[in-house]
Amino acid sequence: MNVVYKHIIRFVVFAFLQALVFNQLNIGFGIHLMIQPLFIMLLPFELTVIPMMGIAFLMGLVIDIFSNTYGLNTSSLVLMAYLRPIVFKFYGPREGYDPLKEPTSQDMGSNWFTVVYSILLGLHTFWFFLLEIFEIGRLGFILQKTLLSGGLSFLLALLIQSFILNSKQKK
């Protein structure tokens, strides 16, 4: 039960941080910071795909409503939730994941987290900008936006993780 509450609180915090803070930052160079993929990433290991896609759909819906993007975030988050078990299986330990652990960098090691999260975040961001721009002739621009936004969002995710880690140690 504790886990459920924790993730509900995380849902609210991540959605509002994204909608009211990171969406309002206009950095320039086409950079769009996204922290909602980290929420999908941090969902527990034992959650199956279909509920996870439902949660991703809800999360995307909330963010889309706040940022007038009409389904862009929803589509890319659902794609990420669909791909998460596949990528996890590919990079997982042979005996399967320990259900007591969480998919964070301090539980699973920073190497594992870097590889898995950068793959998932990269696919999510690429899909987002591909749909948003929707012109094959401008693939270079899409890739540029993906790399810049994805890289900065990844650093931001590491920062947020360190916050979560610190609050845990204090308890």
């Binding site: 950095i27 409503i65 706040f66």
Partner: protein, 279 residues
């Protein structure tokens, strides 16, 4: 039947994925063309409440810049007031006479939510149908044109800005002898630069010539600044120029805007509806 159930069992994850994707993408595609369900945008009551709180916090960030701009604008109009002018000949300067009739009125508004680096950028304004806002009205700020009202709810409205793919505002490139008409577009790259399409390359365009609204469709009055031509290049295989302009307004810091109400619009559309279809 059993085969079908077995099939659904096997592919149920992919099927759920496909259904959710189709829902999201249908929403995306239909919204870009016509707003059907305004509940799922910032125009609904819950989202707008949070955005208003956020705006209350952040609206002071550019306050001094906005204030000085408003002051400059005040000076500009004050200088044009008849009572501040020296009358060279009496009875020439009159405001309410039979020659000039007011065609446009302006509704002041504040931008409470905006973005500039998406492919299609929409702004939320704090005025709605209660203040007389309707779909299709023009929006501009002190420095230049902003966009067209895309949807209006009771107290808020959504602006489709010049930073969207198919904004298609009629504009003129202002030249010494003639004006070149074209359509304004945006390529999604940089919020400071826009594009004009449909300019024939039989005339040479001077760099930094002014671009203004044409005022043909009755949305904008003639002569609202849009920007200045910053770059021209011939398009290969066509007798057209590729024209890039630098916008006059800085959309990152935009806060106060005006919505245009054309008092003659009904008359114009009623007249134009009489054009026979087959011509």
């Amino acid at each position: 039947m059993r085969n079908l159930i077995a099939f659904l069992q096997r592919f149920r994850i992919f099927l759920v994925f496909a259904v959710l994707q189709i829902l999201a993408l249908t929403w995306y595609v239909t919204y870009l063309s016509f707003p059907r369900n305004q509940f799922l945008t910032t125009n609904n009551n819950i989202a707008i409440q949070f955005l208003e709180w956020e705006h209350d916090l952040t609206k002071h960030f550019n306050l001094s810049k906005n204030n000085s701009q408003l002051q400059w604008e005040n000076i500009y109009w004050r200088k044009r007031q008849p009572q501040f002018m020296y009358q060279l000949s009496r009875s020439k300067v009159k405001v309410n006479d039979t020659i000039y009739e007011q065609q446009y009125t302006y509704i002041p508004a504040e931008v409470i939510n905006s973005s500039i680096d998406r492919r299609n950028n929409y702004f939320t304004l704090n005025v709605g149908t209660a203040q007389g806002i309707k779909r299709g009205m023009g929006v501009f700020c002190q420095q230049g044109v902003v966009g067209v009202i895309h949807y209006a709810s009771k107290h808020y409205s959504l602006v489709k800005t010049v930073l969207t793919k198919d904004i298609n505002i009629d504009v003129n490139i202002h030249m010494k002898k003639t004006d070149l008409p074209g359509l304004l577009k945006w390529d999604g790259r940089d919020a400071r630069y826009g594009m004009i399409t449909g300019i024939n390359n039989d005339l040479r365009i001077k760099k930094w010539s002014k671009v203004e609204t044409r005022g043909g469709s009755g949305i904008f009055p003639k002569g609202i600044p849009v920007g200045k031509v910053s770059f021209t290049e011939p398009i290969e295989g066509q007798a057209l120029w590729k024209v890039e302009i630098r916008y006059a307004a800085d959309y990152r810091r935009l806060q106060r805007v005006y919505v245009i109400k054309n008092l003659h619009l009904e008359e114009q559309t009623a007249l134009e509806a009489r054009i026979p279809d087959d011509e």
